[in-house]
């Protein structure tokens, strides 16, 4: 369904109003997801997860530049295609409540998303109420403004908005943040259901354990680089993980026993080397000098000189 090869995103800014320079926020992302599949994307804050989702829809800020090969349904994905596909074939569940218009009732916002995705204006209100019901929101919620919602309600509204159409690829940016366990489970179950029905789901999340419950595969981002792609079953503590960063993420989960210090946030790579270099026990001058290529290993991939 979707195939991304060495995607990089830079932001240009002007220092002292004159000199233009570009900062790379994403250096090299590689991932693919096919239909009937849920791919979890994990990584710390600032790893570039949201940017990836926004890049696929062509809604990055204007000063962003993008390079790399994007393929959607076997065709190259150009900015022009994105403008045509978004909403209809690719849908986004955004990360926070600020993505709702503060002065528009949420029902109106959902109904408009339905219309844009191809539902007839007449049927859109019915579809809206159905979508609310699916996420166990009462009908009267439709007439509320975003500021009248709890964080969890807003999150479910965002999910309902994005899943109301017939999009084949769903980019879910932390759809379970701030939900209690039962409600989070329902949302994830629904996403799994969409995948089983033939769609592809990209599940961006901090919560590795929750992601593992529905994901087929897991991609690990670190500092704007894909460092590993593993099967969900590899995350079981039996040493199947291929990259030291993935192992550190896994070990840092509560209840794992290991209290190993992870960097406070995903380090942004300034040099050309491996993004995990400052925290890796195995780092050598080679790691400092060049970004490792992607290697296939045990039915997964890894980007490490020592793997």
């Amino acid at each position: 369904m979707l195939d991304i090869k060495s995607l990089s995103i830079g932001f240009s800014s002007y220092s002292f109003g004159l000199k233009k320079h570009t900062v790379l926020a994403i250096r090299s992302l590689d991932l693919s997801v096919s239909k009937k599949e849920v791919l979890a994307v994990v990584g710390q804050s600032g790893a570039g997860k949201s940017l990836l989702a926004h890049a696929l829809l062509g809604i990055l800020p204007r000063n962003a530049s993008l390079s790399g090969d994007l393929t959607f349904k076997g065709k190259k994905l150009t900015p022009k295609d994105m403008a045509l596909l978004r909403g209809r074939e690719i849908a986004l569940i955004p990360q926070s409540m600020t993505y709702l218009n503060p002065l528009l009732k949420v029902g109106v916002q959902i109904a408009r998303a339905a219309e844009l995705s191809g539902v007839s204006p007449k049927a859109s209100w019915k579809a809206t109420l159905e979508a609310l019901r699916r996420y166990r929101l009462e009908e009267k919620i439709a007439r509320r403004f975003p500021f009248q919602l709890s964080g969890g309600m807003a999150r479910r509204i965002l999910t309902a908005t994005a899943t109301i159409g017939k999009a084949d690829l769903i980019l879910a940016d932390e759809p379970t943040n701030g939900l209690d366990q039962a409600t989070a489970g329902e949302t994830l179950g629904h996403l799994r259901g969409l995948a089983d029905a033939g769609k592809a789901v990209l599940l961006i999340t901090h919560d590795i354990e929750a992601a593992l419950s529905i994901a087929d595969r897991v991609t690990v981002f670190c500092g704007g680089v894909t460092v590993e792609e593993a099967r969900a079953s590899d995350f079981n503590g039996s040493g199947k993980l291929r990259h030291p960063y993935s192992r550190a993420l896994w070990d840092a989960l509560p209840g794992r026993g290991f209290v190993k210090s992870l960097p406070a946030r995903s380090p942004i790579s300034s040099s050309g080397g491996c993004p995990f270099i400052f925290f890796c026990e195995k780092s050598t001058p080679l790691c400092e000098g060049s970004l490792p290529g992607i290697k296939n290993l045990n039915q997964g991939c890894v980007r490490c000189h020592h793997a």
Binding site: G58, I59, G87, N101, L103, L104, L116, Q148
Partner: protein, 332 residues
């Protein structure tokens, strides 16, 4: 019930604030006027000053109460003011309130027309400019707005007067109705004809501020998260502008428009001067020149009330329109 109580509280607070403001303005302007180098008697007499003996001058001064100490005069004036007596205008020989009333009606149509025109056009231009940021349209609108924002009203007035009244002869050179007629004799058409150019001048300038403000807000809205999400759903630029940005921009624009009533007043003084338009603005200048203290103080107090009303309306509209405030019933 809660709603009603907060409304009453809101009004009480506003009234209290207004009274304090009035007291401060009255005192302050009285002090300023009493320091004025213009001697009211001299100003009243004008050229007749040579024919008047010192004894006669003293009689005038005594009749006006100028022989009493300033503090006593202030309290006399203030106590009359509280009873609603603003005194007699010396230059018009008429009660101050009736002068203000007549002149204000003339000014009102000028200000109202300019205010409405600049509000509507400024908002539309600002939204267009912000939606198509960096386009040729945006650049031309911004250029216009920045130029107008830094141009003095009287200068624009003189240029327009030269072009439209003197060279093209489309509009009259002065006044609010044809010279030689009394206001009652002038037809509506004649009055409108006299109103067009001053109103146009005022709005041409007024447009600038609301355009620039609306443009900023529109750009902000077009780059907001909710605009990005709408775009992700397949909404086009114009759709985002009309369905999403507009309602977020309208609210601050309306507030600004009502709050700008004060500046409108200032602009009217200059425009009326240039066009010899006999409104409140021109009267203010005359009262100042000719030492008509009661009239001048009356106008100051009246304009305070006027500006205060504008600001209060801005507050009220904000509260009535913004659902975030309305639903919680939170009147400040």
């Amino acid at each position: 019930m809660i709603m009603k109580n907060t409304l009453i509280l809101f009004c009480l607070k506003k009234i209290l604030r207004l009274m304090l403001l009035m007291a401060a303005v009255a005192t302050f302007s009285y002090v300023l006027v009493s320091f004025s180098p213009v001697n009211p008697v001299d100003a009243y007499l004008g050229t007749a000053i040579l024919k008047v003996s010192p004894e006669q001058r003293e009689i005038i001064a005594k009749r006006w109460g100028l022989d009493q100490p300033p503090v006593e005069r202030f309290f006399n004036w203030a106590s009359q003011l509280i009873q609603g007596n603003f005194g007699l205008s010396t230059i018009f020989n008429e009660p101050v309130l009736s002068v203000i009333g007549k002149r204000f009606v003339t000014s009102f149509w000028l200000m109202f027309l300019a205010w409405t025109l600049s509000g509507i056009f400024g908002f539309v231009l600002g939204v267009l400019s912000g939606t198509f940021e960096n386009s040729v349209l945006d650049k031309s609108i911004s250029l216009y707005a920045y130029t107008m924002a830094s141009t003095p009203t009287f200068w624009v007035g003189m240029v327009l007067l030269t072009v439209f009244s003197i060279q093209l002869g489309w509009t009259p050179v002065c006044c609010a109705w044809p010279v030689g007629l009394s206001p009652e004799q002038a037809t509506l058409g004649q009055r409108v004809h006299h109103l067009v150019l001053p109103a146009f001048t005022l709005s041409l300038i007024g447009i600038a501020q609301i355009t620039l403000h609306t443009r900023e807000k529109t750009i902000e809205a077009m780059n907001s998260d909710y605009a990005a999400f709408a775009r992700a759903q397949g909404e086009k630029d114009l759709g985002i502008a009309f369905r999403h940005a507009l309602r977020n921009v309208l609210l601050p624009a309306v507030t600004l428009q009502f709050a700008s009533i004060g500046e409108l007043f200032g602009g009217a003084v200059l425009a009326e001067q240039v066009f010899s338009y006999p409104g409140l603005g021109k009267t203010t200048v005359e009262a100042g020149y000719r030492g008509d203290v009661p009239l001048l103080l009356g106008i100051v107090i009246f304009s305070t009330l006027f500006v205060f009303a504008g600001n209060t309306m801005a507050d009220l509209i904000y509260q009535a329109v913004d659902p975030r405030i309305r639903k919680t019933g939170g009147l400040i």
